[in-house]
Amino acid sequence: MTTPKIGSEDLQPLADIDRIIHEPARLMILALLYVVESGDFTFLMRQTGLTWGNLSSHMSKLEAAGYIEVEKEFVGRKPRTMLRLTDEGRAAFHEYLQSMKQVFDGLTD
């Protein structure tokens, strides 16, 4: 049985992968924000199962990368932090999905 030759060209998308997105917790966060308009901290915490501190840490990195925007507001007397993907974040996530699909589609079982 001959193994198909995989050259560096086929693996280049992997080398170029966005490392901000390519982290399990941040990938979960972005996937959730991708399918909704916006969500608050509690929603993301519940959906991802991350602790508050962990989520906060990843949010900081995503915000620093310009992938999410944060809006702090008060609902009555209670604070609410709303998060949504920026246009840049949405495009970056979409590109990430395309890259990963390209890599996995190119591999044989």
């Binding site: 990938l27 996937a31 399918v35 909704v36 308009e37 608050d40 509690t42 519940r46 906060s56 900081s60």
Partner: protein, 217 residues
């Protein structure tokens, strides 16, 4: 990792989490029970609760969600294209009117008196059941909420079965439809809400330390 990233599934789970609290079922059940009671008293009284639900229903539901739901599972704003489309609602209303008129014309082929009696006994409750089924069906189709399909089927079947079995006909049959689906909806809503409150305690209101989110590690 991303090979298994199914965005459709993630979306479906998010929508299911939004509709898991049972409040909508409680509202629907309560409204239907009131309507069924009013059907028994007088048809003219039905307009008032319907208007109250249309204008006050959503604000009241939102108020309850702010108090009991959002502190537990958080707040999410769904994408605009997933919200109720006024054009879709208008189309559904037009379809309902067409069905009513069409069934009326068909009934006339039996003769004026017999046709009217047939239309009133069978087509009116059946058409009403169809119209009431549209909302839950849309919920199931748009958000993947399977309970929506169950309620749609309940509405459709009750609109057909109640007059066919001779339980009631005409407006009485509509009242029975509302009673039957209302009871089921209210009970299932209360059960869901109770389970929801037990499953999700109120989440912490803020980060463990002030400014935690503002720090860049």
């Amino acid at each position: 990792m991303s090979q298994n990233l199914d965005l459709k599934e993630i979306e479906r789970r998010v929508y299911q989490s939004v509709f898991q609290d049972g409040l909508m079922e409680i509202f629907l059940g309560g409204f239907l029970l009131v309507v069924s009671a009013l059907f028994a008293i007088s048809m003219k009284l039905i307009l008032l609760p319907s208007l109250l639900v249309i204008f006050l229903g959503n604000p009241l539901l939102e108020r309850l969600k702010k108090r009991y739901i959002y502190p537990r599972i958080g707040y999410v704003k769904l994408r605009p294209e997933k919200e109720a489309d006024p054009k879709g609602i208008a189309v559904a209303a037009i379809v309902f009117v067409v069905i009513l008129l069409g069934s009326g014309i068909f009934s006339l082929t039996m003769g004026k008196d017999r046709g009217w009696a047939f239309w009133f006994k069978y087509f009116l409750p059946g058409s009403t059941g169809f119209m009431l089924a549209i909302g839950p069906f849309w919920l199931g189709e748009t958000y993947g909420v399977r309970r929506g399909y169950v309620f749609a089927v309940l509405f459709l079947l009750s609109g057909i079965v109640i007059p066919v079995l001779g339980i009631a006909s005409g407006y009485e049959a509509i009242g029975f439809e509302c009673l039957l689906v209302g009871v089921i909806s209210l009970i299932s809503g209360v059960v869901m809400f109770t389970r929801f409150l037990r499953k999700y305690p109120i989440a912490a209101e803020g980060p463990p330390s002030k400014g935690a989110f503002d720090d860049n590690p």
